[in-house]
Amino acid sequence: MRLRTFPQGVFLPHHKEDTAHLPIVRVPEPSRVVLPLIQHTGAPLKPLVKKGDTVKRGQKIADVDAFVAAPVHAPLSGKVAGIEDWAHPTMGRFQAIVIENDGKGEEDCYEPLPETIEDLEPERLRAFVREGGFVGLGGAAFPTHVKLSPPQGKPIDSFILNGAECEPYLTCDHRVMLERTEDMLLGLRIMVRACGARKAYIGIEENKRDCIDHVANLLRNFPIPAEVVPLRTKYPQGSEKHLILAILGREVPPGGLPLDVGVVVNNVQTAAALGRMARTGLPLVERVITLSGDCLRKRGNFEVPLGILLEDLVHFCEGFTAPPRKIIMGGPMTGITQVSLAVPVIKGTSGFLFFRNVPEKREYPCIRCGRCVAHCPMRLLPYLLGRLAEERLFAEAEDNRVLDCVECGSCAYVCPAGIALVHLLKLAKFEVMHRKRGGK
C-alpha cells in the first residue's frame, strides 16, 4: 500500500492499543447536563430558554444571529435549572445552560432529509447543517456550515474527510469509522453536495488498517466519486494543511484557508453525526469520546450526551486506580489540562486523558540542536521564534512567520532542552494578533 504523507513532523508513540479495539459504549443519561453558550470558534450564543422552562431532546436552546456560530440543542428532556457561570474545559468559566433530566425521554427533532441527497439544493443542505449545530468534532470546533459556504470566485473541487486521528491515545474517530460508517458516508454526501466538490477523499492513517479496509469496502457502489487514502502514521497528519498536502499535494497559503486551494476538510465524526441527523432528525446532541490514560479503571470509547460532566464520566468508568495528577481534554499533543471534574463535555471534546505519571523534563538552555527546525511541519524556526517571544520582539517574530504556526507541538516534543516552545509561539501569535487589531 502506498502511503501518503507530508515532509517533517514527528513519529510518536501512539498508545492507541489501550482503547482502539473497544466498541463504543453508550453512557446512560446523567441527571444533569451543562451546556456552555460557547462551544465553537465564533460568536457566543444567546439562550432561547429561561430558568424553569421544560425542554425536549433535540430542541434548540441557544443560538445567535451571526454567521460564524452554531446553535446548541438540549441533549435530553428536562427542566432548565438555570443559566449559570460554569467551569468550561477551554475557557476557564463561561455562561452555561443547566438542564435537570426529567427522565421522560421526550424528543423534539427536525425533519429528516430525503435519501436523494444529490438532488437537494446546496443552500438547503447548508441551512440544515447550521440548524443542526454542527462544528468540527476533531477538536477545533469550527462551524461546519461556514466551511461548506465557499465565497464567490473560490470554487471547491475536492472534499477531504479527516480520519487521520493523529493524536496519541484518542480512538473515538477510529471506532466511529468502524461502527458509524453508513451515517458517516451519508454525512459525507451531504457535505460534498453542499460545498460543490467533485471528488471526496477519506484520509486514514495506516495504524487503522481495519478502518481503511472497512470504509473502502463500503465505498463500492457509492453514488459519488470517493476514495480512501491511506496515510503514513505521522504527527500532525490530521492537521488540515498537512492532510491537504499529503492527499492533494497542495499547500494552503499563509493566512489562508483550505478553500483557497479549492478544498474543504471535515472530521469523520462530524460527518457521522450529520448523517445521523439526516436519517433521524436528531441534531448534534451526542458525540463519541475516548477516555484513557494510565489511571482510569475502565478505559474506552463512549457515546455521551453533550453537557455531561466529567465527574459523571469518571463515575461511570468506576473511578481511578490511583488519583490522576494531570487530566487533559483532547489529545496529549494539543490538549488542555483541566483543574476540576465539574467541566462538561462540549462539542469539541474528543476525549479526556487521565495521567498518574507526569514525566517532568528538565529545562536546559537551547543547545541549537536544530531538532525543532528539522521537525516543524510548517518549516518555521521555532528556536528563533521562542527566543523572540521571550525577548518580547513580536514584530521580529511576525517577520519570521510566527503566524504560520499551527501549534501542533512537534517542536516542544522533540526539544532535548525541554523548552516550552509552543507555549512561547502561542504567546507571540497572541501578541502579534493583538497588535494587528490595533491594540498597542
Binding site: 495528577r325 494539543t334 483541566q338 538552555p365 543547545i367 541549537r368 509552543v422
Partner: protein, 329 residues
C-alpha cells in the same frame, strides 16, 4: 470522591525521551573507539595523560566558573566532557601535561563561558582551545611522539617485553608541508590504507578515519547528527584537493579531516540550524581546510577552516526555509 491535586501545564504533554545530557553522552560514546585506538597505538603513557587531563580541565574550569560567578553548576549536562574529549583527542601524544590543562581552560572559559555557557558560544570551544595552543606553542603542537614501530610493539606485547622507546616522527601532512606533496607517497606502501585504519603518526584520536566514521555512524543511527555537514565538508575538501591536483582521499583521511567533519563541524551550537545553511557551512569549512593545507603556513587547516565558518553561522541562520504555501521565487 477524594480531592484531586491536579497540575496544569502547556501542551504538548508528551515529551521525547531525548535530553541534553543523553545527547552529550552519546557523543562521548561515539568518540571512545577512536580514543581507545589512540591509547593502543601510542601507548597509555603518551596518549592517556593529555586525554584525561583535558577532560578534567574542561569540567573543572566550567565548575570553577559557575562557582566564581555564583551560577548554577552546569557540568551535569556533560557538554564540558565532550569538549574535553574533542580537545584531548586533537592533541599530539606525549605533549607536556600543562598543554591540555591550559587548552581546556581556554576552551571552556574563553570559548564557552564568556559567551554565556552552553548553547551561547559562536566558536567551537574545543577548536578555540586548540587554536590558542597552536598559535602560542607551535613547536610543542607540531612535535609528534610515537612509539618506534607499532608492529614490533605488538610482537613484544605477546612476550611481555616492555622496552618502550619514544621517538619523534612526522605526520603525513607535516611531510607534505616540509618536503612537498609527492614526498608523502614515498613514506611506504599503502599510504591510504594506513591513513584509513590509523597506522600513521598524528593527534591522539584523529589517526583512524575508520573508527571515527564508525562513531559518526553510531550518532547518525541514533538520530543525533545529520549527514549534511560531513558530506559537504568532504565535497569542499575534495574540490580543493582536485583543483590542487592532489588525491582527495589522502586529504579526507589525513590529519583531522574526519574528526573535524564528523565531530567538530557538526557541533550543534556552532553550526547552522537549517539544512541549506549546514550544506554551505560544511562545504566552506572543507574547502577552507583544503586551501590552508595547500597554500597556508600550517600543515593542517581543519581548526581554522571550521572556526572561520563558525563566524558565519549567524549569517547563514538568517536564510529562512521556503515558506509553507508560497511557491519558490
Amino acid at each position: 470522591m477524594e480531592e484531586l491535586r491536579l497540575v496544569t501545564s502547556a501542551p504538548p504533554h508528551l515529551k521525547s525521551p531525548v535530553t541534553v545530557p543523553w545527547i552529550m553522552q552519546q557523543v562521548v560514546f561515539a568518540l571512545l573507539p577512536a580514543a581507545a585506538w589512540g591509547v593502543v597505538f601510542f601507548g597509555p603513557r603518551l596518549a592517556l595523560p593529555p586525554l584525561v587531563l583535558s577532560v578534567l580541565s574542561c569540567v573543572g574550569f566550567e565548575a570553577l566558573d559557575c562557582l566564581a560567578f555564583r551560577r548554577p553548576l552546569t557540568v551535569g549536562d556533560w557538554s564540558a566532557v565532550v569538549t574535553g574529549m574533542l580537545l584531548g583527542l586533537s592533541l599530539p601524544p606525549g605533549c607536556p601535561f600543562w598543554i591540555p590543562i591550559v587548552g581546556g581552560g581556554v576552551a571552556i572559559l574563553l570559548g564557552k563561558q564568556m559567551f554565556g555557557g552552553i548553547g551561547q558560544n559562536i566558536f567551537n570551544p574545543a577548536l578555540v582551545g586548540r587554536a590558542v595552543l597552536l598559535i602560542s606553542w607551535p613547536k610543542i603542537m607540531a612535535t609528534w611522539y610515537a612509539r618506534p614501530a607499532f608492529a614490533l610493539q605488538l610482537a613484544q606485547a605477546t612476550t611481555y617485553a616492555t622496552p618502550v622507546d619514544v621517538v619523534t616522527s612526522a605526520t603525513p601532512l607535516g611531510i607534505v608541508k616540509a618536503y612537498g606533496y609527492s614526498a608523502v607517497w614515498d613514506t611506504g606502501p599503502s599510504l591510504l590504507f594506513r591513513l584509513f585504519v590509523g597506522l600513521v603518526p598524528g593527534c591522539i584520536g584523529e589517526i583512524s578515519a575508520f573508527l571515527l566514521l564508525l562513531g559518526f555512524l553510531y550518532l547518525l543511527l541514533r538520530g543525533i547528527v545529520q549527514w549534511d555537514i560531513p558530506l559537504f565538508y568532504a565535497l569542499g575538501l575534495s574540490s580543493v584537493a582536485l583543483f590542487a591536483r592532489q588525491n582527495p582521499l589522502f586529504h579526507l583521511f589525513a590529519g583531522g579531516a574526519v574528526m573535524g567533519a564528523c565531530f567538530m563541524a557538526t557541533d550543534y551550537t556552532t553550526s547552522p540550524m537549517t539544512s541549506r545553511g549546514r550544506m554551505i557551512f560544511g562545504f566552506g569549512a572543507g574547502a577552507l581546510t583544503g586551501i590552508i593545507r595547500w597554500l597556508g603556513g600550517y600543515p593542517e587547516g581543519v581548526t581554522f577552516g571550521i572556526l572561520t565558518m563558525n563566524a558565519l553561522v549567524p549569517l547563514l541562520d538568517r536564510m529562512l526555509p521556503r515558506r509553507f504555501g508560497v511557491k519558490k521565487v
